[in-house]
């Protein structure tokens, strides 16, 4: 049981051959360069699975233990590689189980193609066994979707699916294929899709907007950048680095923008938002020019919009025109992909230093360090903190591991304290906040990047939402490292109950099973840590172990994540305690 690494080159077949729809599906995937897909078989998709059996040395199918796991694994694969992730499922419940992952991919702009089987076309609308209107159900959470009822549609529709999923602002696409279309024979020919007349994936860069933006940046005394995932998706890391270094602009990131620039970079001033760093949150309301790059001013980033950066001129670099002025009014909007726009603006930018302005960030960081960070990373009181676990992970990963976090307190701690040297290293569910994301996503990430350390950091709540994927790890022997930070609580909800609901801990306390025994049941090497003295050695052992490894760290039960911007408060009202 080894994970095969297959490299499929993208190809275009020019010759026609007579094959079935289901074989065509496999051939389309191969032509798109797909080498791994995640899924779960069932009645309406069986013809395709039969072809997957025949093509198993060319296309590796990973059997997850639940279709939701297949979507998250495909997402993890996509997020670390930049390629399109593929998930496949049967009709009815198989298809509906994909929805959470699809919604997650939609809000986090992850390129993913989902293929579902459907009952025979003569049965459509008859309430047949395992029939569900998955095209209808998935419409609000897909970038595009389509139902195929004739085999001859397969090549063109799948080519479009991959093109739409990956181009412009990426997103999930669902293709539903009736069982008769899978069986039907037709003359197959594959042509990649390169354009659709009603679809403009990347708006052209307007040079006058570049000049206007450069003028504002050059005149700024207190400029600040907030970048998002657009930089990662657009592979604009180098261009962003060049811009911030030339003009010496303090630069912060949204949760999905993390790792685009190394955390050690002196101009990287940390994360913005609800649990972001103190300095960039407070100084958002003092900067004179706010430069947003590939980010969408999510409410978790802005806090109260009425008091968000009102003093600043706003420049918005964005690929999706519908994001301009959606939440924050832009004084200058630079449409286009981040790579091209940043490359174009660089020659217009003047060298600048901004020493006093940069010092303000340092001063506020020092306050945050004293009040929060030091206590998190170097605690002296009893009870392990999540922060010190992250510190140990950093020591052993040397900042080179990809971290896949779930949702909740541990996610905020991971994003705040993880050290990243390499881009595409922070894989987490940002927009949708999907508990259960991390374990399957880590599987996909590790398969896409077998040479990298992939560490899943998960809370005890989210872990149990997709814990069955331990079976996938066992069966495929994918060597992911799993760290569960166990506080026997749904910690983030408990924190809110403590702060805003007078400590009424409604349904947030968890009576947990023996996680180590469960991991061992799946023949995964496992250990539990309860004492500070054991932590460093345990994390070292986890990294040293060749195969998959499960480490449970029992952390303090009622630890809180700070800084925090309470809901409805301004970013400058960020609390340190």
């Amino acid at each position: 049981m080894e994970v095969k690494t297959i490299q499929n080159e993208q190809t275009t077949t020019s010759t026609t051959e007579r094959i079935t729809g289901s074989e065509a599906v496999v051939k389309c995937l191969l032509a798109e360069g797909v080498s791994i897909i995640y899924g779960y078989p069932g009645g309406a998709i069986m013809p395709v699975y039969d072809e997957l059996y025949k093509y198993q040395d060319k296309l590796h199918h990973v059997l997850t233990r639940h279709e939701q796991g297949a979507t998250h694994a495909a997402q993890g694969y996509a997020r670390i590689s930049g390629k399109v992730g593929v998930a496949i499922a049967t009709s009815g419940p198989g298809a509906t189980n994909l929805i959470t992952g699809i919604a997650d991919a939609q809000i986090d702009s992850t390129p993913m193609v989902c293929i579902t089987g459907q009952v025979g076309s003569h049965l459509l609308g008859s309430d047949a066994f395992q029939e569900t209107d998955i095209v209808g159900i998935s419409t609000p959470v897909t970038k595009w979707n389509h139902q195929i009822t004739k085999a001859s549609e397969i090549p063109e529709v799948l080519a479009k699916a991959f093109y739409i999923a990956k181009s412009g602002r990426p997103g999930p696409v669902l293709i539903d294929i009736t069982k008769d279309a899978q069986f039907e024979a037709f003359d197959f020919e594959y042509k990649k899709c390169t354009a659709i007349r009603s679809y403009i994936p990347v708006p052209p860069v307007d040079d006058s907007a570049i000049v206007a933006a450069a003028k504002l940046i050059n005149e700024a005394k207190k400029p600040m950048i907030v970048w998002g995932q657009g930089v990662v998706l657009g592979e604009a890391e180098k261009e962003l680095t060049a811009v911030i270094e030339k003009a010496n602009i303090p630069s912060a990131w949204t949760i999905l923008g993390a790792s685009a620039i190394p955390t050690s970079h002196p101009l990287n001033i940390g994360m913005v938002g609800m649990h972001g760093n103190y300095a960039p949150n407070v100084l958002t309301n003092q900067c004179d020019v706010l430069i947003a790059i590939g980010m969408r001013f999510d409410d978790r980033v802005t806090g109260n919009l009425a008091t968000y950066a009102k003093q600043a001129k706003v420049i918005h670099f964005e690929i999706d025109p519908s994001e301009i002025d959606k939440n924050v009014k832009a004084d200058v909007a630079v449409l286009g992909n981040a790579k091209e726009s940043l490359e174009k603006i660089l020659p217009y930018l003047k060298r600048n230093e901004h020493p006093e302005w940069r010092q303000q960030f340092q001063d506020l960081y020092d306050i945050e360090f004293k009040k929060v960070i030091n206590n998190d990373l170097n605690p002296t009181k009893e009870g392990l903190t999540m922060g010190e676990v992250l510190k140990e992970i950093n020591i052993h990963s040397k900042g080179n591991a990809a971290l896949v976090s779930d949702v909740g307190q541990h996610q905020m701690v991971a994003c705040r304290y993880a050290e990243f040297n390499v881009t595409k290293s922070n894989i987490t569910s940002g927009g949708l906040g999907t508990m259960g994301f991390a374990l399957p996503a880590a599987i996909g990430a590790k398969m896409a990047a077998p040479d990298r350390d992939v560490v899943a950091i998960i809370g005890d709540g989210g872990y149990q939402m997709t814990i069955q994927e331990l079976g996938t790890i066992f069966q495929t022997q994918v060597p992911v490292k799993i760290v569960v930070l166990n506080n026997d609580f749904l910690g983030m909800v408990r924190q809110w109950q403590e702060l805003f609901f007078d400590r009424r801990y409604a349904s947030t306390e968890l009576v947990n099973p023996d996680f180590v025994t469960i991991a061992k049941g799946y023949h995964i090497e496992a250990k539990r840590v309860t004492k500070r003295e054991e932590l460093a050695a345990s994390i070292e052992a986890m990294f040293a172990h060749e195969g998959a490894y499960f480490l449970e760290v029992c952390v303090e039960k009622e630890g809180n994540v700070f800084p925090m911007i309470p809901t409805g408060a301004s970013v400058s009202e960020v609390r340190l305690e």
Binding site: G136, S198, Y199, P321, S322
Partner: protein
Amino acid sequence: MDTETQLFTVSIYTENNVGLLNRISAIFQRRKINIESINSSISEIDGVSRWSIVVAVSETQMRKIIGQIEKQVEVIKAYYHDDEETIYQESCLFKIKSDLLFEDRQIQNIIKESHARIVTVNREFFVLEKSGRKEEVELLYRELKPFGIMQFVRSGRISVTKEELKVTPILEAFHA
């Protein structure tokens, strides 16, 4: 930001594909906006559909919704206009008992003055058709109501804009 609600006509040019109605109506549904009327038909461009959707929203909200509509892969272009910027019509049908037509002089006068058209007459009923602005249609409805209306139906608004909508150049640019 403006929060005042006003009536807008949304004009959308799209590919003619199954499921697009669902996709576009979902954009309104998600924001809990009631669609006043909706019409989809062919347009002046072969193979391209044209939609007219009437909604009451603020202009800020309208702009954001247009952005979300245009973002859909199969939407070519979307516009919004207020009533002053469009020429629009609605159409309605009344089914009324035939004896009224012969026995009541007043009803004949109403039909004459409203410029409504009799589509069909038989022994039991006649069908009256009226096209015009919403107010005109509503006036006729109020006038006929006391006589007893067997059935009434009104179409969604269809409208053309006073400004030129440059959709053909977009498509030509693609094929060039």
